[in-house]
């Protein structure tokens, strides 16, 4: 990877968006870190590498959008489970709304349908 690419527009967009993908994955219940990381990395083009998701999880924790609990597992060492907090739910909800508008506008412009911001699917 080019040294400059980590700061490119695309990777910034990715970074900003993946946060909310994490929140969305937690919407229906807790998951442990490894599981989250694998799931995200298996969606094509979402993350460049699995390792970069851990710092992101830390940031979400610091911003109190998620909380974590350690639990014993039947196989292997204890696992850290992530749960959505109330403000995490709120942040996700407002992102979902914003994202739909944003995506539609970008799509409309990219496809040359200016002024037609409403998606027809």
């Amino acid at each position: 990877m080019e040294p400059g690419e980590t700061r490119s527009g695309l990777s910034q967009l990715r970074r900003g968006t993946v946060e909310y993908c994490v929140l969305a994955l937690l919407r229906d219940g807790e998951r442990y870190g490894f599981e989250l990381v694998r799931e995200l990395s298996e969606s094509a083009g979402l993350v460049t590498s699995e390792g970069t998701i851990y710092p992101l999880l830390t940031r979400l924790r610091k911003d109190q959008l998620v909380t974590t609990t350690w639990r014993e597992s039947e196989s292997g060492p204890p696992r850290r489970y992530y749960q959505l907090t109330e403000s995490g739910h709120a942040a996700l909800a407002s992102f979902v709304k914003e994202w739909a508008r944003f995506r539609d506008s970008v799509d409309a412009i990219l496809n040359g349908r200016k002024g037609d911001a409403h998606h027809g699917d």
Binding site: M1, T6, R15, G33, F34, V37, S41, T48, S49, E50, G51, T52, Y54, P55, L56, T58, S75, G76, P77
Partner: protein, 202 residues
């Protein structure tokens, strides 16, 4: 079945990560390395394989350690700034009571060598002893009623009739000089802990 070769691959990777994270706060740095280590162990356990190819795959998917650190905390311009005269002056000033505290704090905030967080912690570490001292002094100076309003800076005993415990030259002056120490030590330590790349790796 881990072999020496696979252990070495993992160790090398984690060492590179730790090395790349040199500018991070120690607790955060340790946590990051531990998280990645857990991930590697978990991935290998899940794949039921620990051969060299499996390890290489897991590490490839994790991506270069430098990229992980970049995502965590890009090396900020702060950590590039070396301690100069300004920083030394600030630390010395912090130890001098009253005017020194003030000047030191101003210099610390003017400097680019500390992060905002460190500056605030430094200020708190200075403020706390002063407040505690002030309260302690007020309490000691006016235990019974009328003299309670004596300002902490006023060292003169109130009238001759009462023995004021701290009117001697010793403890108060000593304590005043100690008040700036925690802050100066903390900030000094933060400066030292900003090494350039340490020569541990080829």
């Amino acid at each position: 079945m881990p072999t020496m070769e696979t252990d070495r691959l993992i160790d090398d990777y984690l060492r590179r990560l730790d090395h790349a994270a040199a500018h991070m706060r120690p607790a955060r740095r340790t946590e990051l390395v531990a998280e990645i280590r857990e991930h590697i162990e978990m991935a290998l356990r899940q794949e039921q394989a620990a051969g060299e190819a499996a390890v290489r795959n897991v590490l490839d998917r994790l991506g270069p350690p430098e990229e992980i650190v970049e995502a965590a905390e890009p090396a900020s311009p702060h950590s590039q700034v070396r301690a100069g005269k300004l920083e030394i002056a600030a630390l010395i000033a912090l130890i001098v009571p009253f005017m020194g505290w003030l000047i030191g704090t101003v210099l610390v905030f003017a400097s680019g060598a500390w992060s905002r967080r460190d500056k605030l912690i430094g200020a708190l570490l200075l403020l706390l002893p002063i407040v505690v001292l002030g309260l302690g002094f007020v309490a000691a100076a006016g235990p019974n009623g009328s003299e309670e309003l004596v300002p902490p800076g006023d060292l003169r005993p109130v009238g001759e009739k009462e023995e004021v415990p701290i009117s001697g030259p010793g403890p108060l002056e000593f304590v005043l000089f100690v008040a700036g120490l925690p802050s100066a030590l903390y900030l000094g330590w933060q400066l030292r802990r900003d090494p350039g790349p340490s020569p541990t790796e080829s």
